[in-house]
Amino acid sequence: MKRSLSLAMLLALSLAPSARAANEADYKAAYAAAEAASKEAAGMRNQWTVTASALAAAKKAADGGDFDRAVAAAREAEALAKASIFQAVSEKEAWKAMEIR
C-alpha cells in the first residue's frame, strides 16, 4: 500500500500550480521525467493514448514558447504514465478477480 500512497502524493504534487513562471530548463526536466515514465509504461506494453497526447501537447507548447503550459502538460503526461505503470503492476494479479469460473 506504500506504493499507492506515494503515487497519490506525487499526483497531488504534480497537479499543484507552481508559484513562478516556468522556464525552458523546467520544461526540459519535466519532459525528460515524463518521457522516462512513458517509456517504462510502453516497455510493460501498457501505454495509454492520453499519455502520448499530453507529451505531444507539452512539446507543442514548448515550441511555442509557453513553458508554463508545457510544464503542466509534461507533468500530466508523467502522472498518466505512472498511473498506467501502476495499473500494469496491480493487474498482474488483479485480473483474476474478473475471471468467469
Binding site: 500500500m1 497537479l15 492520453v50 502522472a79 498511473a83 498506467s84 496491480s90 488483479a94 474478473m98 468467469i100
Partner: protein, 287 residues
C-alpha cells in the same frame, strides 16, 4: 485541465481499488484447465441469456436484440460483405507469380477449414491465426504480405469463413505446456484492465453485452470471433480480427499492440477455444 485531472484521478482510484481487492490470497493453485474454463464460460452466457439459442451467440449484437436481429435478417438478402466475398474468391483462385495459389498452403485447399484457426504450432511453439497463416503463405511464395487491418486480408478471410459456415468451432490445445501457457496468456489478456478507462475486454463483452455504448450494442464474448471478419457501416468496409482488436483497445484509451503480436494471437486462441462447438457465421455485417 480540470476535467482531465478528475478523469485521471478517477482511473487511478479504480486501479487502487482493484489492487486493494485483489492483492492477497488469489495466488491459489493455478492449474490451467481449458476444458473447465470453456464449460464455465459457456454456462455463464447460457444462464445470463436463457432466451438466446446457443448457436445464436455467434451473431454478436444481433443475438442480444430481437428488433436488430430482424433488420439484419432482411439485410442478409443483399449482404454488404458480398463484394469482399467475391474479391476474396477471386484472389483465392488467382495464382501467385510463381504459379502457386493459397490453396497450396492450407489443408483441404483452404476450403471449409476456418473452424480450426487459430491453432497451436508445436514446432514453433506459438499460436498461428488465419490472418498470420495467409501472410506467411504469401511470403513463402514470394509475395509481399498484406496489411492486417485492410480490405485484402478481410476479403481473403471472408471467403475462407464463408466456405466454413455452420461448421462448429474446433480449436485444439495440444498436450504441450507452451500451448497451455498461450491459452492462459490469452485469458489473462482478456481479463486484464488497461487504458485510462481501466477496462478489460471482459468489462464490455462479459459484464455488459446487450448494453449500448454510444450508438453500438455490445456483443457477448461467447462466439465473438465466429463471425469475423465483419462489415461495419461505421467503417464503410470490412474489418479483420486484427482491426477489431486494435479498435477495441483504442476505445479504452490504451495504445493498441501491433497486429498479430503474441498477446493478440493468444487472446484469439483463448476466445476461439471457449467458443468450441458454436458455428462459424462469418463473414458478418454490423450496423
Amino acid at each position: 485541465m480540470k476535467a482531465r485531472s478528475v478523469l485521471l484521478l478517477g482511473s487511478l482510484g479504480a486501479a487502487l481499488i482493484a489492487f486493494a481487492l485483489a492483492s492477497p490470497g488469489v495466488i491459489a493453485a493455478d492449474m490451467v484447465d481449458p476444458v473447465a474454463d470453456a464449460k464455465a464460460f459457456q454456462n455463464f452466457f447460457f444462464q445470463k441469456f436463457p432466451n438466446v439459442k446457443h448457436e445464436d451467440f455467434v451473431n454478436g449484437p444481433y443475438s442480444m436484440n430481437e428488433d436488430m436481429k430482424r433488420q439484419w435478417q432482411e439485410k442478409e438478402e443483399f449482404p454488404p460483405y458480398e463484394f469482399a466475398l467475391e474479391a476474396g474468391k477471386e484472389m483465392f483462385s488467382t495464382p501467385f507469380k510463381n504459379g502457386k495459389t493459397y490453396a497450396d498452403c492450407f489443408p483441404n485447399g483452404g476450403i471449409g477449414i476456418r473452424q480450426n484457426y487459430p491453432y497451436f504450432d508445436t514446432g514453433e511453439g506459438k499460436v498461428i491465426t488465419l490472418e498470420l497463416a495467409l501472410n506467411r503463405c504469401r511470403e513463402a511464395n514470394g509475395e509481399a504480405p498484406y496489411s492486417y487491418v485492410k480490405d485484402e486480408m478481410a476479403s481473403l478471410t471472408a471467403y475462407m469463413a464463408y466456405t466454413s459456415r455452420g461448421k462448429p468451432m474446433e480449436i485444439k490445445i495440444p498436450d504441450d505446456p507452451r500451448a497451455l501457457a498461450a491459452f492462459e496468456n490469452g485469458k489473462r489478456y482478456f481479463y486484464t484492465r488497461r487504458g485510462q478507462m481501466n477496462f478489460s475486454c471482459a468489462s464490455c463483452h462479459v459484464q455488459s453485452p446487450g448494453e449500448r455504448i454510444r450508438a453500438e450494442t455490445l456483443a457477448p464474448a461467447l462466439g465473438i470471433l465466429n463471425a469475423m471478419p465483419i462489415y461495419r457501416s461505421e467503417w464503410s468496409g470490412m474489418g479483420t480480427t486484427s482491426r477489431r482488436f486494435v479498435t477495441c483497445n483504442s476505445q479504452t484509451r490504451a495504445v493498441p499492440l501491433e497486429p498479430q503480436s503474441d498477446e493478440y494471437r493468444d487472446v484469439e486462441y483463448f476466445l476461439s477455444y471457449v467458443a468450441n462447438g458454436l458455428p462459424i457465421s462469418g463473414p458478418g455485417a454490423r450496423p
